[in-house]
Subunit: 170 residues, 2 copies
C-alpha cells in the first residue's frame, strides 16, 4: 500500500483519516479496556465484588465526603443501581454514610480504613499496568493518549473529569 494513503496527514488544515485508522482506534479501545479492568477484576472476584463496587470505592476515595447525588451523576447510573452497591459496601464496613450537617437530607460518603485498604489494592493493580504502559509508550505518547480520550468524552462527563482532575497538566 502506498505510504501516503495510510498515514495521518493534514489536508486542507484537517487531519486526513482513513476508515482503517479509525477502526484501529476503535479496536484499540476495545482490547485496551479489557486489559484496563483485568487486574482489579481478579482482586474483586476473590471478594465477590464487581466493577460497580470498584467504581464506587474509587470515586468516594477521590472525593471524600461526596454526596450520593454527586456520585450518581459521576457514575452515570440510577440511584437504585448505586444504592445496591453502596448498601453492601456500608454493611461490609468499607464505606461510611454520614448525615449532612448543613443539609440533613444529604449523606456524605467516605471510606473506612478497610475501605481505603481495598481501594488501595485495586488502585495499585490498575496503576501498575498504567505505569508500565506509560513507560513503554513515553511521555509524548501519554500526552496524546489523554488528549484524545478527553476529546472523546461527552461534554457532561468531561465536566466531571475536569472537576476531579482539576486541570492539572499531564
Amino acid at each position: 500500500m502506498a505510504q501516503g494513503q495510510n498515514r495521518s496527514e493534514h489536508t486542507h488544515g484537517l487531519l486526513f483519516l482513513t476508515d482503517e485508522q479509525l477502526r484501529k482506534g476503535i479496536e484499540a479501545m476495545f482490547f485496551a479496556y479489557r486489559g484496563f479492568t483485568a487486574d482489579p477484576d481478579r482482586i474483586l472476584a476473590e471478594k465477590s465484588y464487581g466493577r460497580a463496587h470498584h467504581r464506587a470505592l474509587h470515586f468516594i476515595q477521590r472525593s471524600p465526603g461526596t454526596t450520593v447525588n454527586n456520585l450518581l451523576s459521576t457514575l452515570g447510573v440510577t440511584k437504585q443501581s448505586l444504592n445496591r452497591v453502596l448498601r453492601t459496601l456500608i454493611e461490609d464496613g468499607l464505606v461510611l454514610n454520614k448525615v449532612g450537617t448543613n443539609d440533613k437530607r444529604q449523606r456524605h460518603l467516605s471510606l473506612t480504613d478497610a475501605g481505603r485498604e481495598l481501594e488501595q489494592a485495586l488502585s495499585n493493580a490498575q496503576r501498575d499496568r498504567m505505569r508500565s504502559a506509560y513507560r513503554q509508550a513515553g511521555a509524548e505518547a501519554v500526552y496524546g493518549f489523554c488528549t484524545v480520550l478527553e476529546a472523546m468524552m461527552d461534554p457532561d462527563l468531561k465536566q466531571h473529569y475536569d472537576q476531579l482532575t482539576g486541570g492539572d497538566s499531564v
Copy 2:
C-alpha cells in the same frame, strides 16, 4: 504547584509518574469509554440489541468467514454467551452461518446485506466521534493514543489486535 512536580519527566531514563497522573489516566479511560459506546448504544437500544451484538457484528465484518471459535477468543466470552447473541442475529437475518468446506465441523460467519447495513450504521456513529476526537487532538496525539492503548493490552489480546490491524502504521 511547582511545574516540575507535576510534569512528565525522564529521571534516570525512566518516565517519572506521580500517582495523580496515573489516576488521571485511569479516570480518562473510564469517562472516555462511556463516550466511546454512547452513540452505538443509542442505535442498538432502538433495535433492542445490546453491546454484545455490536461486538459480534463488528468482528464478523472485520473478518468475514471467521469461525465461531476464532470469534470466541477475540471477544473473550464463553460460547454460551456468544451463542445467545449469534442465534438472535442469525434468526433476524443479519448473520450467515455456513458449514465449512474443509472442516465440516466449523461454521463460517458472515454478514448479510441487512447485517452490513446495521454494522455500518453502528460503525459510522462510533467513527464519527473518533474522527472528531482525532481531529481535535491532532496527528501526534493520535499516535500516542494508540501507542499507550497497545501497551495496556494483555499479550493474548494484543495478538488478536495485531492480527486484525495487520501492523498498519497509525
